[in-house]
Symmetry: C2
Subunit: 126 residues, 2 copies
DNA sequence: CAGGATCCCCCAAGATACTG
DNA sequence: CAGTATCTTGGGGGATCCTG
């Protein structure tokens, strides 16, 4: 369904660009349970630097998917949360996530099968 | 649903890595209607160089999502097609695609709204 | 704690040209 | 037409240090 035109249709690639970052989807996902502070996010996610996290959040903000809230009283207390728009993206993200839990093994198997003469994977070592 | 752990769970990020390329999803999509030759693919997709297309196909092949078939008689006749595994990814991809057709405008609106003082988007001009 | 400023690396992706 | 070989580049992403 949807449309046959991912192809050359610039608009259609928008979403892929949104998910074409290492961290965008992960951060969105990490925000799914409500407003969260950066520290919290970093703990949940693991392996993301503070700098990159900030960059990612800014990017998501720019695309209207995430909302920044500086706590009035406390100085160093900030929270980020999904916007209504951002929440709608959880569906598709979940679809992708579900796929991995079902077929991830097959992909890894295929990788190893082709590994001896192997070229480049999108994530060689894991 | 699925799992809360995208986070630090390496395996969970596999799928995102698969979709974290500019062309992976697009090419998979372009293959949805059956075996296709490279030329055909390039025409359908538009804006992809032969080199990058080949790279992408190799990558998808390596992950077991795509299948290469050299035509026996004709020399320069090759076809690529989705494997069974690759076909299962069409679902999630479609979910993402559907999302864009529903909410793409809102994203673009958000971008323009923030455009005057705007930082970087994942696709500034389109 | 939030997050800016720097420096550096790497590689996906573009352009171009060439072979079978 | 299919595919490879080079060369180049933009920018994502890591590490580190420093501030309000």
């Amino acid at each position: 369904m949807t449309t046959d035109a991912f192809l050359a249709d610039c608009r259609a690639r928008l979403a892929f660009d949104l998910l074409s970052n290492t961290w965008n989807a992960v951060v969105l996902w990490a925000l799914r349970d409500g407003p969260t502070r950066p520290v919290e996010l970093r703990e949940r996610i693991g392996g993301i630097s503070s700098k990159v996290l900030t960059e990612t959040l800014r990017r998501l903000q720019f695309n209207g998917l995430v909302d920044r809230q500086a706590h009035p009283d406390a100085p160093s207390r900030v929270e980020y949360r999904l916007t209504a728009l951002g929440r709608t993206l959880l569906g598709p993200i979940d679809a992708v996530g579900a796929w991995v839990f079902e077929y991830g093994d097959e992909v890894m198997a295929a990788q190893e099968a082709a590994c001896t003469p192997g070229p480049q994977s999108s994530r060689p070592t894991c």
